[in-house]
């Protein structure tokens, strides 16, 4: 299995990376790498519904934000146990996805894009005006969640490896679903929904289930993001965040197994590198993205040789 080897190499590099950074006295970048891993998870969850399911959700940041705020608010109320806070974050995000999905998934195309965007912006403004938990200014967290088992999440190395482990586990789980009958059905609905209905599939239920699952995973990414920054703010739900996740998926390769993570690493990496050289970094990022979309329209993942499965 060539693809399997390639994945093993990538994982080995990711495991060795922080040690290398430390050896090179560049420990600062471990935090940055962790941020990439968390966004990779969020992008993987969006790729599940956008790439495989054909649902162009422009409000995915709402679920990231829901997860982040769940952890932030629980911490403010004294609940710092990760085993309570993180599953709660996933549950809250899943419920938000259930409510938003149940309404949005009745629409198609541009209407679906607009209605998911509208719901996410609604949540953004709700939290902007939510003064009890910081409102516009956001909410500071006293420290990271407590996970027990002798692990201290405040240690950057431990934190990095935990995020890496979760990414491998959860993104791997999503890919497993894509490879199963559920994933096949989801992709078939993307290709021809009327036909799926006509051979007896309850397509709405399938799409909603996928949407809720993606919401839950985005909620987990949000929980990690809140811990990573020690801070939650409504900006996490802003439409520009949803747009960034979408760009990650499209640049990485929508519908490709590793499209989400590749896009997250490339986009965040690009922003970081550009910021080193110029104060007009966003212009540079934009130009590079333009080039990628023009010259690798299927996403960067295709350049790594793993062809998209139909």
């Amino acid at each position: 299995m060539k693809a399997g080897w390639r994945l093993a190499v990538v994982i080995a590099v990711l495991v060795g990376l922080p040690l290398l950074l430390q050896a090179a006295d560049q420990g600062f970048y471990i935090g940055f790498a962790t941020r990439m891993l968390i966004y990779a998870l969020a992008a993987a969850s969006l790729n599940f519904i956008l790439g495989h399911g054909g649902m162009l959700s422009f409000g995915h940041a709402a679920f990231v934000g829901a997860g982040a705020y769940t952890v932030g608010i629980l911490a403010a109320e004294g609940v710092t146990n990760a085993w309570v806070a993180w599953p709660s974050a996933m549950l809250v995000a899943a419920l938000a996805a259930l409510a938003i999905g149940a309404m949005s998934l009745r629409t198609r195309g541009v209407y679906f894009i607009m209605i998911t965007l509208a719901f996410a912006q609604m949540m953004y403004y709700i939290f902007v005006s939510f003064k009890a938990y910081g409102g516009d200014d956001g909410l500071n967290m006293a420290g990271r969640s407590v996970i027990g088992m002798g692990l201290d999440l405040k240690d950057e190395l431990t934190w990095y490896y935990l995020c890496l482990g979760l990414l491998i586990l959860v993104a791997g789980f999503l890919n497993r679903i894509v490879d199963a009958r559920f994933g096949r059905i989801l992709e078939a609905i993307r290709v021809n929904e009327t036909r799926m209905e006509a051979v007896g599939h309850a397509t709405f239920g399938r799409r909603l289930a996928a949407f809720v699952l993606a919401g839950a995973v985005a909620g987990l990414a949000g929980a990690l993001l809140a811990n990573h920054a020690g801070f939650v703010s409504p900006k996490l739900m802003h439409w520009t965040q949803s747009g960034m996740l979408m760009v990650m998926v499209i640049v990485g390769g929508a519908g490709h197994r590793y499209g989400g993570p590749i896009g997250a690493v490339v986009l965040l990496g690009l922003e970081e590198v550009m910021a080193e050289f110029t104060q007009y970094s966003q212009l540079g990022v934009g130009l590079v993205l333009l080039a990628i979309v023009l010259f690798a329209p299927g996403g960067l993942a295709l350049m790594f040789g793993n062809r998209r499965q139909a």
Binding site: R181, F182, R184, V191, R195, E197, V199, G200, A310
Partner: protein, 251 residues
Amino acid sequence: MSTPVLDVRGLSRHFGGLQANADINLAVREGEVHALIGPNGAGKTTFIAQLSGLLRPDEGHVLFMGADITHMSAHRRVHAGLVRSFQITSIFPPFSVLDNLALALRQDASPGLSDLLRPWRAHAALFEQARQIAAQVGLAGREALAAGALAHGEQRQLEVGLALATRPHLLLLDEPMAGLGPEESERMIGLLMGLKGRLCMLLVEHDMDAVFRLADRISVLVAGRILASDVPEVIRINPDVRRAYLGDEIG
């Protein structure tokens, strides 16, 4: 007489000012091939869409095996045994022929967790059944090809295969011969002949040769209404039908 398989009562549907179906009454009997003919724009496709649940009627009822299914969702009708094929080929072009058919196969056991975690390729029983359907519709040896790479005639065969895979009791065939050359038509007629007696069919078709060879009874739809409904010999000589539709075609 026993309950008809399909019993349509007073079905109507209009689009704005256009009356597509007006008070349609039609019965398909157990075991028969019932053809529905009529000129373009007579409302045949609208009728099929209402029977399959993709379109809601404004008025009237559809009874399937004695049960009122007028408000049943499209996918539940399929589970009940009422399945359609499409006039404009509706398949999954990027997927292999085998995947196409396996997706359409009915799952009897409740799928649950295996649906989420078991690799698609590991559903051996599903693919075995899909292989049988492929052979049945004349696509043996073509299973691994992407459906989009098939010739038009083969895609029409797959179209019927997708409907067959759901194990229908009544098959609604919306112009299965559409766009087929003489040889391909002959193959399709042979395929449908082979199904005769094993399931009921409501055949919407313009190819009169096929209709008169296959049908046990024929209904004629003109301007949204059923003009006549009888055995082929009677339809053939019905003066109203000849004037409205058949013309010199079967002189």
